[in-house]
């Protein structure tokens, strides 16, 4: 498939925003369980939510570049009953709204417990909004993943692994950013977020490796024989019905030689997983030194660059059965 930059930026940027929010709320839950000290509502939660929103908004803006008719984008929520794309269109602003409310509730210090569960668990407004926002964030991961995983013709995408990849890679990049952010705003949480960033990056490494292996093995369901209905092992296309190219010869191909797609795979494995894991480990052992923040910043930047490449490969690696009809040029 043709890698569209709008979608590459959309999916990677909202992934960071979602992951960062999940990190913030994880911090709140740990504090609630009194495993880590409670953070300042304004500097930590409100600023953190604002940062997450920046990434979500940037992703939303990028998505508009994918549309031929962005002025009609409002129509795209209509068919939420059948279309995962419509569902994403609804869930994305919902998640953004809830994360904004979460930040606002912290900013306005709505932290007085509303009620207490079994006498030990104080529940305040931020916790309730945070729970709802967490639900929306995961729903958004599922919608984004299902947009691809539900296209059964593209076998590289049509697997639950697609959803897990989105969750783990988005989560990993968000938690790496959270680690960096907490270095300035909440040093007590650096180790916690760093630890989770390593776990999520490792989880993503595992699921993405499985999906790479899956894509490299297995046979496509359709053949040229079933495409034109002629039963002969040797069929060669001599004309596609277009002198120059057409939409069908561009949209469904990577536009890059297979060797470059292969190189991109090795490179993103290094940039998204190996390098950030090493940098995170290094940073966590030098938390109190002045080396920690450049290491974490580097981990975040390298991982994001790698994620752009990973998403590019996600598209470039996907094959579409319609290409059977467009083999010769």
């Amino acid at each position: 498939m043709h890698p569209a930059f709008s979608v590459i930026f959309l999916t990677t940027l909202i992934g960071i925003g979602q992951g960062l929010f999940l990190a913030l709320f994880t911090g709140q839950l740990y504090a609630l369980a009194q495993l880590v000290p409670l953070q300042d509502s304004e500097t930590f939660y409100a600023h953190g939510s604002a940062l997450a929103l920046v990434f979500l908004i940037a992703g939303l803006i990028a998505s508009f570049f994918h549309l031929g008719r962005p002025e009609r984008a409002w129509r795209s929520a209509t068919k939420w009953r059948t279309s995962w794309l419509a569902r994403e269109v609804i869930v994305l602003p919902a998640a953004m709204g809830l994360i904004a409310m979460y930040g606002a509730a912290h900013y306005l210090s709505f932290t007085k417990p509303l009620f207490t569960v079994s006498g030990v668990l104080p529940v305040d407004l931020t916790l309730l909004i945070g729970l709802a926002a967490t639900g929306a964030t995961f729903a958004l991961f599922v919608c984004t993943g299902m947009i691809y995983a539900s296209i059964r013709f593209i076998r590289e995408w049509a697997t639950p692994l697609t959803i897990f990849n989105f969750i783990f890679m988005g989560g990993a990049s968000g938690f790496v950013l959270a680690t960096l952010f907490s270095l300035f705003e909440a040093p007590e949480l650096v180790a916690l977020f760093g630890f989770w960033a390593i776990i999520l990056t490792t989880a993503a490494l595992i699921t993405r490796s499985i999906s790479l292996w899956r894509n490299a093995n297995g046979t496509p369901k359709s053949t040229i024989q079933s495409a034109i209905g002629v039963r002969h092992p040797k069929i060669v296309q001599t004309a596609t019905g277009a002198m120059g190219g057409s939409f069908n010869t561009k949209e469904f191909r990577s536009g890059s030689p297979a060797s470059r797609v292969r190189q991109a795979k090795y490179l993103f494995m290094l940039l998204v997983f190996i390098a950030p894991l090493a940098l995170l480990a290094l940073a966590l052992t030098t938390i109190s030194s002045s080396l920690a923040w450049p290491l974490l910043a580097l981990a975040f930047v390298i991982q994001y660059a790698g994620l752009l490449l990973e998403r590019w490969t996600f598209f470039a690696d996907a094959t579409h059965p319609q290409n059977l009809y467009y083999q010769s040029m």
Binding site: R69, V89, S150, S222, I228, T238, G244
Partner: protein
């Protein structure tokens, strides 16, 4: 229920592309506006088409067959392109099964084209909306046209009569009879999309003449074919003759 569709006879299609040009002519001048061409006189011309004729070569020389293969939207009975559309611009009509795009609602997200395994949808580079075969929905019901002309433009244009239009749900329709009796098949049946359009296979015309058909026992000509070696035969005439 009605399901309008085309039956395409690969046995008679000569690959002349008359259907392609007549389709473009009719639909580009239609209500929905032009089907944009980009750089039509440039080095790399491209444009929007509802229908294309492709060519495949089957087998290895000298045992080869050229198959011309017209391809347009198959108006699937289970169209995977419809439910994925976020705006409802893509829809399948209840009354006649035609799959259409509402160009006024389409946001040009291309998602439906990903969900069509046949590559039947093409985006219009200028109008930025998705386009595809409409089975000439603006012509087949047009009461101002004489009855025989209420057919898709491609069907009327085909000089080889390789395109037949009708209701594949009516068992007695011409298309249904053809599919039933001439081995009509669907493309990529493995996806369960149930294409309404069907293709009739190549049928190589061969004459089989058996030896006994050439030399019939009652063939009067064969009587003159009697070979008589008279050297060994002594006839009455031979005795005492001249």
């Amino acid at each position: 229920m009605t399901q309008l569709a085309l039956v395409i006879d690969l046995n008679t299609c000569v690959g002349c592309s008359a259907c392609v040009t007549s389709c473009k002519e009719w639909n580009t001048s239609g209500e929905a506006g032009p089907m944009t061409d980009m750089m039509p006189y440039g080095e790399d011309p491209t444009g929007t088409f509802f229908n294309r004729v492709q060519t495949f070569e089957i087998g290895t020389y000298p045992n080869t067959q050229t198959v011309h293969f017209p391809k347009s939207c198959l108006h699937c009975e289970e169209p995977p392109c419809v439910p994925v559309c976020p705006t409802g611009a893509s829809y399948k009509r209840e009354e006649d099964g035609i799959v259409l795009v509402d160009y006024d609602k389409c946001i040009g997200c291309k998602y439906c084209s990903w969900a069509c395994p046949y590559g039947a949808r093409e985006i219009d580079e200028k109008q930025k909306v998705m386009k595809k075969c409409t089975l000439c929905v603006d012509r087949i019901y047009d009461q101002t046209l004489p009855e025989p002309e209420r057919k898709p433009a491609c069907v009327l244009a085909c000089p080889a009569d390789a395109r037949i239009f009708g209701d594949v749900h009516d068992p007695q329709s011409e298309v249904s009879v053809l599919i039933r009796e001439q081995g009509g098949y669907a493309l990529m049946p493995e996806w369960g999309t149930k294409p309404a359009n069907h293709y009739l296979p190549r049928r190589k015309q061969e004459m089989h003449i058996h030896a006994d058909e050439l030399e019939r026992a009652d063939n009067p000509l064969s009587k003159e074919d009697l070979k008589i070696d008279d050297k060994d035969i002594t006839s009455v005439d031979g005795f005492g003759g001249w």
